[in-house]
Symmetry: C2
Subunit: 448 residues, 2 copies
């Protein structure tokens, strides 16, 4: 019998993150100060983020040591298995080999934990006592709740109210790890109170939640802010996924032809793909495919330019693909993919022609996730269903082509089963954004 | 750094189950026919169970080959990791080493999948097209739903109505795997209709659900019945847990001093412990500890004798510890431990003095589960929290005693988070059964 799960021995754990910044042709444009619209140095961000993370955000070093204290915790679930989806292959009748990294094995059930542990560590090392963050679907809030509990930090999560109400188990998970959670908008912050005064029944939004968490962190000396995607240091922490996958594929003599990941802010895809970029730049024919929802087509229909990360225009401006910071995507069930921007690292790779972007509709993705569950046993998170669907497309364009596909199963869907319920009940619909909606949303990009 | 997860290579997968029956001193009394109260041969059970499973139920062979088709599916998640709970050890300040088998890595999230795959296989091999079963908390129904989907069988799950309503995600999981589910009592069976006519608002019970599933299986030629615990063949299928653990402990030169598992019907504990019974019988000082809830104290306060497995007195009578088939345990949140009887294998081992039984209250178990989540990352199923709590007790009686503890983390609690919510909100209470309640429940044991 051929091997199904490729396990990297624990003593071969990855000990250095790969920083892709020095390898991106033409580099990445610097963030801009939201007040002056001028390039922004790390000193301006120090009240919000610890120095250790800011150094990583702008580092030109290719390899950055993973602190022992971080490794100690990562090895609770890492190295994560690389799995051959042979049951799926058989069901598809394809000659393609399909491999996936199973990031659902992490304590909180997604790749987010990789960065959460690192972020909690650097904050604790610099004397921070408390972290404030926002969460939409809940994966990031859960991951940070776990990580802060390991480092004895307090954690305050502002969770978009509609998700807070729809996914009660996420709140319980965060509470069980010891974090405090409030639906956002809350009456804790001035931002939240102002929104509630205007609209007491608002479902909330990620933009509001980010503003609340930032206000919380700015108003307390013991507290800093944490973000779960988009930023360079978050993508850096996720490279452990791709670095492990490289070693695991090498163990069985495989090299990938196509590497696939879903893209919300971009960190899980960056984590899997970027460690293979040097090979690609050396001429190896590896295709990178980022998958986004058709209802939030940042890469396929957005514009490339400077934009804010939040609605309240409090964050630095990043140079990225964006649908505009005022863009509100339709309520598709892959909450983690409903973000108007895209990681500058991914945006630059896309602009340089180093990767492809595809957009998919949610029904075909849930259908793919259901097939995956019945064949490989794992029920994927709605976000990860997008990667599964793209892998199936790649494997069936020509079923006789013996290519090797690698995708990231960024998380399991056990806390998202209500969306599968709506899917099987026929209550979900596909959305295509009209061109006018995109034009309107991107019309008011900041002038810089 | 010391190894945290002991991974058994896939090519060392267990290929034979261990049948403990020939090693139980004085053996096990035969089941009795519910109509004649006489010992019952396999031929009487053939309408309900496939021959392959009936042979295993009464086999005197110590080793039984695991069919290749079953291994193929088990290796989706097996070998399951043996994990050193070093973070928990540190939090307790104990010199004891605590190891656990993580059965939560299975597709449906618990050890139940081990037997579900085998049962689906033998049914399919004998031409069965459809399985009917009951489920309480939902772990067994989920496991069988996955297993039947792998073998192309239909699956009909009768889920106790109160759980069906409280745990909507369980239903979605089973649907996603392709199974049909109905709350029980249902209007599909005569049993269900009769109960509903009497009491339209009944919350249902495992006894009713078993009767419905049996009626379903008996009334259709294409359908057989499947049970998720108690029976010898189910305990047999679970021995893969203990057999893997033995190999894994040997890889690091460890032998267990204490082996712990929670006991509802008894199969996960039997699966972990019985493969170590030959060592114990040879004189190795290994203690076996079965853990049950104080509110359903079958082993610690039940009587030993013949009893039915269901309320409707349709099943064969098994010789076991029982609280009486009419016993209705208080509604504690570890639904998988609310069963009046105990596997005959476990019952015989207890009577022979080969194991110990302890009963624990639910609050201390949820507290232990919360500590486990914050230290080891995994939120245990409420049932498994009982094993965690017992392991903590063993590790802290004398913190300076360097013993080796092995327990079974039978499943994760991600679909049971509502009970953690009630726990953290202070809404759960402990129950001690008054002696009169037990006396009353066991008074009407069948006369044989």
């Amino acid at each position: 019998m051929q091997q199904k799960k490729i396990q990297l021995p624990e003593d071969e754990m990855i000990r250095q993150w790969y920083n892709v910044l020095p390898d991106i042709p033409n580099g990445i444009a610097p963030p801009l100060d939201p007040e002056t619209m001028q390039p922004m140095g790390p000193e301006k961000l120090a009240p919000i983020f610890p120095v250790g993370l800011l150094e990583q955000e702008m580092s030109d070093q290719r390899w950055i040591d993973i602190p022992t204290e971080v490794q100690e915790i990562l090895r609770i679930w890492r190295p994560a298995p690389l799995v051959r989806a042979e049951n799926l292959e058989r069901a598809l009748g394809t000659k393609a080999k399909i491999f996936f990294k199973n990031e659902g094995v992490s304590p909180s059930g997604s790749h987010k934990t990789n960065s959460a542990v690192a972020q909690a560590y650097y904050n604790q090392r610099e004397g921070v006592k408390r972290l404030a963050t926002e969460t939409g679907a809940g994966q990031w809030g859960s991951a940070l709740s776990f990580a802060t509990s390991k480092f004895g930090l307090e954690c305050m999560v502002y969770m978009v109210r509609v998700s807070f109400d729809q996914k009660p188990y996420r709140k319980v998970m965060m509470n069980t790890y010891g974090a405090a959670i409030t639906p956002s908008p809350s009456d804790i912050t001035a931002t939240g109170r102002a929104v509630l005064a205007r609209d007491p029944d608002t479902p909330g939004s990620l933009g509001i939640a980010i503003s609340e968490a930032l206000e919380d962190a700015s108003s307390r000396d013991d507290t800093k802010y944490a973000l779960g995607s988009v930023l360079n240091h978050v993508c850096l922490h996720q490279t452990i996924i791709g670095l492990e996958a490289k070693k695991q594929l090498a163990m069985i003599g495989e090299t990938p032809d196509v590497i696939i990941g879903c893209c919300g802010g971009g960190s899980n895809f960056a984590g899997l793909a970027t460690p293979f970029l040097p090979d690609k730049l050396e001429g190896k024919p590896i295709r990178f495919v980022g998958v986004e929802p058709a209802s939030c087509p940042t890469m396929t229909k957005g514009v490339y330019g400077y934009d804010f990360c939040d609605v309240a225009r409090r964050t630095p401006l990043l140079y990225m693909y964006t649908l505009g910071h005022n863009f509100t995507p339709p309520g598709i069930h892959a909450g983690g993919l409903r973000y108007h921007g895209m990681a500058p690292i991914i945006s630059a790779m896309l602009r340089e022609g180093l990767m492809e972007a595809v957009s998919l509709h949610q029904l075909e993705c849930f259908e793919a996730g259901t097939l995956f569950a019945r064949t490989e046993g794992i029920i994927p998170a709605p976000e990860s269903c997008h990667a599964v669907r793209a892998a199936i497309i790649e494997a069936t364009i020509d079923k006789n082509e013996p290519k090797t596909i690698l995708f990231n199963l960024s998380g399991h869907g056990l806390l998202d089963l209500s969306s599968y319920e709506k899917f099987s009940a026929g209550e979900l619909h596909d959305y295509d954004l009209p061109a006018e909606a995109i034009a309107a949303a991107t019309r008011d990009l900041p002038k810089v």
